[in-house]
Amino acid sequence: MNQYLRYSIPLFVFAVIAAFLYKGLGMNPREIPSPLIGKSVPEFSLPTVEDAETIVKSDNLLGKVYLLNVWATWCVSCRAEHQTLVHLSRSGKVEIVGLNWKDDRDKALSWLNRLGDPYVINIFDKKGRTAIDLGVYGAPETFLVDSKGVIHYKHAGPISMELFNETLLPMIEDLKRKG
């Protein structure tokens, strides 16, 4: 029996590897978890998309639970996501702050005119410096921020209603209850 045990080591090792491979099939290697979860939104001071003179600071956003959505007109998936965002903002379940990333002001404005504007505030990050501070590596990306400015969740890629209802909404309600 002891003999069998010794020669079954390779089989055992393979079983462990296979288990990991099976688990791996269900994971997305391209998704990078954000180290910013549990931390505050990085400080910034940027103009809005609508007006180069209006400066928004990170402190201005304190006091409410909101979604911070990184978007751009050159981003194809953002277009797909936009309808969902418009729908969400109309439902009044959550406020959405936009971060327009490395974009053209006129293009961004005409996009909002044509497709609707779901954003309560739309920050204009021409150089992408704040996006780097947020650890953004693609668009769209969405952060869930509480009233103290702490990031609780990050999603890379377009938001679907399914994702919102199943994952984001319970967290939002929870955060709102806590104040």
């Binding site: 410096r129 780097i132 590596y137 693609g138």
Partner: protein, 159 residues
């Protein structure tokens, strides 16, 4: 969509062959240029996934390179740059995993693998040359082998 995924099986690496250069990044301080190269070469371009920050021309990679360049120009050192990147993108950006408790298995695991190899070697050799010092003739050796093999049988323990 599948067209976009190049599908050659077992092909060696295929990062885009669109190699970038670091020609625009110059430093006055000696050694800084070397540091800059090492840092950017040992970091992952996040959007291309298997290209280094130094070698990629993806827009984000260029931005990050510029950011790192500005930091190093302003007198920050390698470690500060690494901290900056890790606090934003996580350990994932580093091709060289940082040394910390959660990565001990990666850095010290190999020693254990070596140890296992060593133990296996030792055990086999011990078994194979157990009777080296006795200098028996081949016949005696064979008889001894038989005896030894028998005595490993539990039934023979009390003999």
């Amino acid at each position: 969509m599948r067209t976009f995924f190049l599908t050659l099986m077992f092909l060696l690496i295929l990062p885009s062959s669109h190699a970038s250069t670091l020609a625009e990044y110059t430093f006055d301080e000696p050694g800084k240029a070397e540091d800059f190269r090492t840092v950017t070469e040992e970091m992952r371009c996040l959007v291309c996934q298997n290209e280094s920050l130094a070698g990629s021309n993806a827009e984000l990679a260029v931005d990050l390179r510029n950011e790192i360049y500005d930091m190093m120009k302003a007198g920050r050192n390698k470690d500060e740059v690494i901290d900056f990147m890790v606090s934003r993108y996580g350990d994932f950006v580093l091709y060289r995993p940082p040394l910390k408790p959660s990565t001990y298995p990666i850095w010290f695991g190999p020693l254990i693998v070596f140890l296992i190899g060593g133990v296996v070697l030792f055990r086999i050799l011990k078994r194979k040359s157990l009777t080296r010092e006795t200098k028996l003739s081949t016949d005696e050796q064979h008889r001894l082998d038989d005896l030894l093999e028998q005595s490993t049988d539990p039934r023979d323990n009390n003999q």
